[in-house]
Symmetry: C2
Subunit: 310 residues, 2 copies
Amino acid sequence: MSRSYAIIGAGALGCYYGSRLEVAGCGVHYLMRSDFDYVAEHGLRAESMHGEVVIDRPRVYRDIADMPRCDVVVVAMKSTGNSALPALLLPALKVDGLVLVLQNGLGVERQAAEVVGAERVVGGLCFLCSNRIGPGHIRQTRVDRLKLGEYATRGVSERMRAIGADFERGNVAVSLSENLDLARWQKLVWNVPYNGLCAVLDCDTTLIMGNPATASLAVDLMHEVVGAAKAVGGHVIDQAFVQKMLDDTAGMNAYLPSMQIDRQEGRPMEVEAIHGEPVRAAEAAGYPVPKMRMLYEQLCLVDTLRERRA
Amino acid sequence: MSRSYAIIGAGALGCYYGSRLEVAGCGVHYLMRSDFDYVAEHGLRAESMHGEVVIDRPRVYRDIADMPRCDVVVVAMKSTGNSALPALLLPALKVDGLVLVLQNGLGVERQAAEVVGAERVVGGLCFLCSNRIGPGHIRQTRVDRLKLGEYATRGVSERMRAIGADFERGNVAVSLSENLDLARWQKLVWNVPYNGLCAVLDCDTTLIMGNPATASLAVDLMHEVVGAAKAVGGHVIDQAFVQKMLDDTAGMNAYLPSMQIDRQEGRPMEVEAIHGEPVRAAEAAGYPVPKMRMLYEQLCLVDTLRERRA
């Protein structure tokens, strides 16, 4: 019997992955707020590199109490809403179910684990461009990769393989990481400088890379992340990885990281998960990260001003 | 016989001090670009704490070649225009005249000294709020203090006293510094954090101080400036001075530092004088200033984006 999935926070990311899991033949249930009425009536439409998927009668819910318990509860909302996790996870989870955390940053699995227990948590890193272009209508472009990893243990588990296989049947490119924490720090090598600098300086990645001063600053920030990954987790991230992040970004067209899109659209920015958590982890390990801290502090104000200006 | 003054770059600051020197009975000549036509016809109007001064027939010049040589050439334009100094200083200077540099930041006297010789340069730090509110019409509010110091030597010279006496007759509160370099570093303790952070984060000082994260960042930046002042110049700036800067700023109403006003009005920002110079000086002395450097690098991009957005 195929696994059932509960998508908690069905925005651009949740709806996209939901649509791929539907293609894979899984039972998908969507917890949805703002677009609920529209989607309940008109269905869900997901355009992507893999073609268009229209789901006429998606199983959408406004209230978690109405949703059936599922094998996999997918945490797909922004981490800024994680204070709601206790109310959302347990009602949606089968007794032997597990939670898949598809959020940005560091420490997000820990927040789920505090609710359901560490052994029931799998993490996922999304390398995805997906945007909501209208009610119940999302469009995925360019990259679409998902990296899965166990939270409480190292190595590749059977349940990771099974979930990965579901996504792969939906055409998502899946990789299985033996070391989720390393994968999270690797992703921070990109996310810390580009999400942070674009949001503070109100610009896209080409402007950061096109100016020698900020391009140099991005390198410095990457090196702080690499040093913190070693100090906090004992992870080795080599210079070739850093160079690849720089080269890839220099070769991209103008790209707006999610945090800058959130800023522009007046939504809460994931400052704590992407910046606050790694800064606190590094400093707790006795490893100073002055530029990461400065960026974090600037983002705290930008996030406040966003609220004022919204 | 009273001293004659050439005001090079007669904007809000130059016109204000010019008007005070006219009150003091000095001969004042203004080099002026944008407002030249208006002022030549309608005169100059300066409102201030000391009342209103109207100069019906100010001695204004569009071209430095038309200006008579003066005893004191006052460098009153923004330091971003200092590449023009060689063409502007020598034609305006009497054989035994001197140059008074009234610019923000560090290294600005050196640029004048490279043109006229270090022994002919006196520096001045302006603690002044003066704005152009219309053509030929400026308004000074709140503070009005001028601190003078010799560039090439320590101590208080006779010519400093004489120039200071001219300004004081015009009601400007003058202090004479025995150590100009120390005074410049002291001013940077305020200018580096507040000019820089307000311009990067597009806000005023109360927002910086009202957010615990950026208030803490301002303190860190001040401490880097204090450390750099010691490493570069051997200057001791004590914690009481830092605390006074913080307390004064916390007690101010919403204040826009000059760099943020320049950003808002699409004018070049004094990034090199206020940030680039002290960062380079500190690093050349082997003293790392990671947060000052990061702020400088961010400002480099903001200044470029200002040009694009203007």
